[in-house]
Symmetry: C2
C-alpha cells in the first residue's frame, strides 16, 4: 500500500482530511461479546501468542464498527518474555519475581522471541481493507520498568520510583536495555506490516517533570528516532496522566501525541504547540452518559482538537469492559458527522 | 490556645514566618517501627476507634521529629461506618457491598457515631505542645463516593465514574449527603480541638475539568464555606493528581491548597494565583535518593513555594512505608535550614 494512504497515516503526517480518523484504545477486548466468547476457550496469554487468534481478535471491532485503524491484539508485557522475564496475567501482569538489574534481561530479538506478534501483524495486514491503518505497539521503557521492579501492577509503583532514585545507575541500565529492545520490536512490527506504531507510557504521569527529563525522556526519544529512521513510519507516543509533563512529552519528538481525558485538548495544544498532531481524548466514562450528553462530549473533543495541526479521534484511555458496544457504534457515527461539519465550517 | 499561634496556622492565614512549617502526610504510620510494634497487638480499625491508641499513634512522629503539626490518626472511610456503611480494611477499605443510592446513607452525627475521633483529638490537643498545630481531616465527597460505588480501591474507579455519568441525579444526591456529613464531621473535629482541618480528595484527578466543575466543585466548596463559617478555623484542600484541575481547585476556596509531587510549585502558583497558600510537595520517592540529591530536591520545593503567599512544607503524597525514618529526620532538619536561609534572602 502506498505510504500514508489511510486517514490515520495522513493525520500522522499532519494532514487534515475530509473527516477525523477514529479508533479506540482497547477496541479489541472484553466489552465485545464476540471477544468474551472466544476467550471462553482460550486464555489471554495463549490468545496473544497464537497468530491466527490474535489476528481474529484484532479484526473483531472492525467487523462491527467503521473504525479507521486496527491495533494488534497483544500486551505491552508480551515481549518481555522474550527478554528472559517469567510472567503471567491475572488479569494484570504478575512476574515470577521482580527484576532489578539489567543483567537479568536479554536484549530482545523480535524475530526470534516474539515471531507470533509479527506473524499476527502479517495476517491482519493481509485481511484488512487498504483504507484502514494497522497499528503496532510497545510499552515505553519507564512503564515496563515499573512492572519489572514492582513485579506486578500498582496504583503508584512506589517501589519502582524509589528504586529509580536509590539506584539511578542500575535503573538507567535497565531503561536502556528496554529502550533498545522496544526500538527493535517496533521496527520489526513496522517491517511486518504495521503502518503506524505506538508507544504506551501508561505510568509516566507518576513522575515529576525533572525526574521524567532525567531518566525517561532521553531513552524514549531515542526509540522514537530509531524507529522512524529505520521504518519511516509514524510513531504515536501516549503518556497517560502526564498533564504536568506535556512540554517534555513534546520533546520526545513523536509524530503524534496521545492525550489522556483529563486534559482538555485546547489546553494540551497550548502546551504542546499547534504544530503537533494529537490523538484523543474522550473520557471513557462519557460512554455511560445519556446519548445527548455523550454527543455533546464528542463535539467538545472534535472542536477541541481543531487547534492542533491534525487530530486522530480516540478515547483518552482504554475503553471500559462494561461499555455497551452500541455506544461505540453511536460514537463512531457521531465523530464522522461532527468532524465533517467541522471540516465544512473550517473551509468556509 | 490563642487563634493562629502555631506556625502552621500562621501560614494557613497567609503569613510568612521565620521558617517554613513542616509536617508529612501519613507521618503517623507504617514507616515508623514504633507504629508497627503497636499494631502487632491491635488491628487498624480498632486502633482508629480507640481514642487512647489513636492519640498515642498520632503523637509518635512528634516524639521523633521536629514537626510542626500532628494529624489525627484515622482513615477517610472511618466516619462512613457512622453513616450506615459496613466496611473493613484489607489493608485498603473493602465494603460489604457497594452503595449506589443516598437512601442507603444516613447523615452523619459525629458526636453520636464517631465520638472516638473527637475524643482522640481532645487527648492529643491536651498532650500536644502549644506551638504545634493539630490537624483534623475528612475525605472529600467525590473520593468517598468512589469507594462507595466501587466497593473497594481501584486504580481508575471506572465504575464510580461511569455511575456519575449514567445516574447524575442519584450520584448528586449521594455527593450531597456526603458533603453535609463531612461538613458536620470537620466542624465537630474543629470543636474538639483541631486547629486546622483538611479535606483529602485523593481521586479528584480522575476527572476532567468539566466533570469536576459540574459534580464535585459545588459540594466541595460548600463544605469549605460551612466549616469555616462554623469553626472559624482554616481548611486545607488536597486534590491529588489534579494538575489539570488547578484553576477549579482554587475555586473551592480553601485557605490552603495541597499540591501533589507531579506539579512543580511555581507552575502550581501560576495556575492558582499568588494570593494562594500552598502545601507540599516533595516527591515521596525523593526520600530514597542519596542525601545530596534529597537535599537538592528539598531546596527546590522550598524555593518553588516562594512565589505563593505562604507555604507549608510537606510531601506531595503520603510517605511510603519503606522509607527510612532517618531520612525524615534529615528532611525536617533541611527544611528548617533551607527555609531560614530563604527567609533571610527574602528579607534582604
Amino acid at each position: 500500500m502506498p505510504d500514508g494512504r489511510t486517514l490515520v497515516e495522513r493525520a500522522c503526517r499532519g494532514e487534515r482530511a475530509e473527516r477525523l480518523p477514529v479508533w479506540i484504545m482497547r477496541q479489541a477486548g472484553r466489552y465485545l461479546p464476540e471477544y468474551r466468547k472466544l476467550r471462553e476457550s482460550v486464555d489471554f496469554k495463549t490468545a496473544t501468542k497464537t497468530p491466527e487468534i490474535a489476528a481474529r481478535i484484532t479484526l473483531q471491532p472492525l467487523e462491527r464498527f467503521e473504525l479507521d485503524a486496527a491495533i494488534i491484539f497483544s500486551d505491552i508485557m508480551t515481549p518481555l518474555e522474550g527478554m528472559g522475564v517469567k510472567l503471567d496475567f491475572d488479569p494484570g501482569p504478575v512476574l515470577e519475581k521482580p527484576v532489578r538489574s539489567a543483567s537479568e534481561l536479554t536484549l530482545l530479538d523480535p524475530e526470534e522471541s516474539a515471531p507470533f506478534v509479527l506473524e499476527a501483524l502479517r495476517h491482519v495486514r493481509a485481511e484488512l481493507a487498504a483504507d484502514k491503518a494497522l497499528i503496532g505497539f510497545a510499552g515505553a521503557p519507564f512503564t515496563l520498568f515499573c512492572y519489572l521492579v514492582q513485579g506486578q501492577g500498582s496504583k503508584d509503583f512506589m517501589e519502582a520510583r524509589a528504586f529509580l532514585r536509590a539506584e539511578p545507575a542500575a535503573a538507567g541500565r535497565m531503561l536502556d536495555v528496554l529502550g533498545t529492545s522496544m526500538s527493535r520490536y517496533l521496527t520489526s512490527q513496522a517491517d511486518a506490516g504495521a503502518d503506524v506504531v505506538m508507544l504506551f507510557d501508561s505510568w509516566a504521569g507518576l513522575l515529576s517533570p525533572d525526574v521524567y527529563r532525567r531518566f525517561v525522556l532521553p531513552v524514549t526519544r531515542r526509540i522514537v528516532g530509531e524507529v522512524r529512521a529505520a521504518s519511516r513510519k509514524p510513531v504515536i507516543y501516549f503518556a497517560n496522566g502526564a498533564a504536568s509533563l506535556l512540554s517534555d512529552v513534546r520533546d520526545v519528538g513523536a509524530d503524534v501525541v496521545g492525550v489522556d481525558w483529563t486534559v482538555p485538548l485546547p489546553r494540551a495544544v497550548e502546551r504542546l504547540g499547534s504544530d503537533v498532531v494529537v490523538q484523543g481524548n474522550l473520557d471513557p466514562a462519557a460512554l455511560f452518559a445519556p446519548e445527548a450528553e455523550l454527543e455533546q462530549a464528542i463535539g467538545q473533543v472534535v472542536s477541541g482538537g481543531a487547534a492542533a495541526r491534525a487530530h486522530i479521534f480516540n478515547l483518552g484511555h482504554g475503553i471500559h469492559h462494561a461499555t455497551n458496544p452500541d455506544r461505540v457504534a453511536f460514537l463512531v457515527d457521531r465523530v464522522g458527522e461532527a468532524s465533517t461539519v467541522s471540516a465544512v465550517e473550517a473551509s468556509r
